[in-house]
């Protein structure tokens, strides 16, 4: 009974799927889905090698400091870093005093109240504060950016396919729209107010190119600043903001991996030892011996008895 109903149910589902398949294929053949400009002209991120790559990667603190400088001088005008606290900057190699100064000098104030009147006011940031957002809220951010919302950058390298390489490619990927695209997809001309960037998913991004000239940021340590270098540095910095515990994680991973490798090997040896004689205990003599079994089978076959 169960089998009969099951049989029918199975045929019904398979049948409906077949209908869906046929209708789907028919639709695709008669009116194939229009190719999208973004499918054809979207580029995968350029490869980016960072010091933190790989299972033994470590952050290059000098690079992180340069990247932080790029963030604070260029990106922080529009992009918040809400999940990072000023005190976290100590991991980059800054001293307590430097961190305190960075916090109190930060151009955006932390929302607070006037202690005398109780009205909304700002106050200077303390090291224990998180980076204050450049805009009070999403509405203000959109109003200031042509209805586009500059995303928070704390986790951006984990929130985008391609990670730090994507960020680097995006920042350096601005280019004029190729003539080929315009010829094939005349409707896909970059709208006013947007910028063509093939590394962006739908090719047209609201952010204007943030890094345009060499020397845009003068690095505190005197390193030369090229657009490419600055982009790499800020990508490395954002890789740190997303994964500040990367180095501890890798280090712990080494101990745990070695431990478990040894535990597996020890365990395997103990297992082999315990089982060493287990299967040999059974000794066969008599009817179950292979030779006798073969004899019995051929005898049965002769007699026509099912074996």
């Amino acid at each position: 009974m169960v089998r009969v109903i099951g049989f029918l149910v199975g045929l019904v589902f398979a049948g409906v799927l077949l209908i869906s398949l046929i209708s789907g294929v028919a639709t695709n053949l008669s009116s194939p889905p229009a190719p999208l400009a973004s499918e054809e002209f979207h580029k995968h991120p350029k490869p980016l090698r960072l010091a933190s790559d790989g299972p033994f990667g470590k952050f290059d603190k000098a690079q992180l400091q340069r990247g932080f400088q790029v963030y604070s001088e260029v990106c922080s005008a529009c992009h918040s870093l809400k999940l990072v606290s000023f005190r976290d900057l100590k991991e980059l190699g800054y001293t307590d005093a430097e961190v305190k100064k960075i916090a109190s000098d930060w151009k955006t104030q932390v929302p607070s109240i006037n202690p005398e009147t109780g009205e909304a006011a700002g106050r200077k940031a303390l090291p224990s504060d998180n980076f204050p957002s450049p805009f009070a809220n999403e509405t203000a951010a959109r109003a200031a950016n042509n209805n586009a919302l500059p995303p928070d950058l704390s986790l951006i390298t984990k929130a985008r396919e391609g990670g730090a390489a994507y960020v680097y490619s995006l920042i350096t990927g601005y280019q004029p729209q190729p003539a080929e695209l315009l010829k094939k997809f005349p409707d896909a001309k970059t709208p006013q107010g947007l910028h063509y960037n093939p590394y962006f998913a739908n090719l047209n991004i609201a952010m204007p190119p943030p890094l345009t000239t060499a020397g845009q940021v003068t690095f505190a340590d005197g390193s030369p600043s090229t657009v490419d270098g600055m982009a790499k540095d800020v990508a490395a910095f954002l890789a740190w903001t997303a994964e500040p515990n990367l180095e501890s994680r890798h280090a712990a991973g080494v101990s745990v991996t070695i431990f478990l490798l040894l535990a597996s090997i020890l365990g395997y040896l103990a297992y082999r030892q315990i089982w060493h004689d287990a299967k040999r205990v059974v000794r066969v003599t008599g009817p179950l011996e292979a030779e006798n079994q073969a004899k019995s089978r051929s005898a049965k076959a002769k007699q026509g008895v099912a074996g």
Binding site: S85, R87, L126, P127, S128, F259, L260, L262, A263, L266, G267, L269, A270, Q273, I274, W275, H276, D277, A278, V281
Partner: protein, 194 residues
């Protein structure tokens, strides 16, 4: 995995040579102990996560600006989520505190012991009554300072003097003086060892 904790009983119904047993047991014991060490090590993060997290520790110290507190005034502020009284004692209040015989106090302390050298007028204490934890009155303008001119706890009537020492009432100890340090003459870092 309760069985891992049990000692490995010898394998069943197998050959046992004299030496074989010891070698067998050693490997088993080694494997089980190794696993045990791992299990204990795995417990470490589970316990460590209960310790105060970095954001809480970051608030272990608080900087207070005392530039606006005039002599005779006090402010109520916060440190580690608890009330703190910062009081600028007048010379009269300092004299009153020094005049008290220390031995007669329930919790003997001089004003000098409760303040920093060169800043004897700055009395910084927790605003938590040492009886059962209420916030005493007396720090604000017009609040009842009690008969000893310091603080008065309305819950059960503990009365503190101008050095915030317990004089009368059920509280056993003087108001707690936290660790603090003057980073500048007008900025105090509470929680920092001075």
């Amino acid at each position: 995995m309760a069985t891992k904790a049990q000692s490995a009983e010898g394998p069943e119904s197998t050959e046992t040579g004299g030496d074989g047993v010891r070698r067998r047991d050693f490997l088993n014991v080694a494997a089980v102990s190794f696993a045990g060490v791992g299990a204990v090590a795995a417990i470490a993060p589970l316990l460590v996560q209960m310790a105060p997290s970095a954001d809480v520790l970051a608030l272990a110290t608080t900087e207070i600006d005392i530039s606006k507190v005039q002599p005779g005034q006090g402010i109520k502020t916060q440190w580690r989520k608890q009330p703190v009284f910062v009081r600028n004692l007048t010379p009269k209040e300092i004299a009153e505190a020094d005049a008290v015989a220390v031995d007669s106090l329930r919790d003997p302390e001089t004003l000098a012991q409760r303040t920093k050298a060169g800043h004897k007028n700055w009395l910084i204490t927790l605003g938590v009554c040492t009886h059962l934890g209420c916030v005493p009155l007396g720090i604000g303008e017009g609040e009842n300072k009690g008969p000893f001119g310091g603080y008065f706890c309305p819950c059960h009537g503990s009365m503190y003097d101008t050095a915030a020492r317990i004089r009368q009432g059920p509280a056993p100890k003087n108001l707690v003086v936290p660790d603090y340090a003057f980073s500048t003459p007008t900025m105090v870092t509470i929680g920092a060892k001075g």
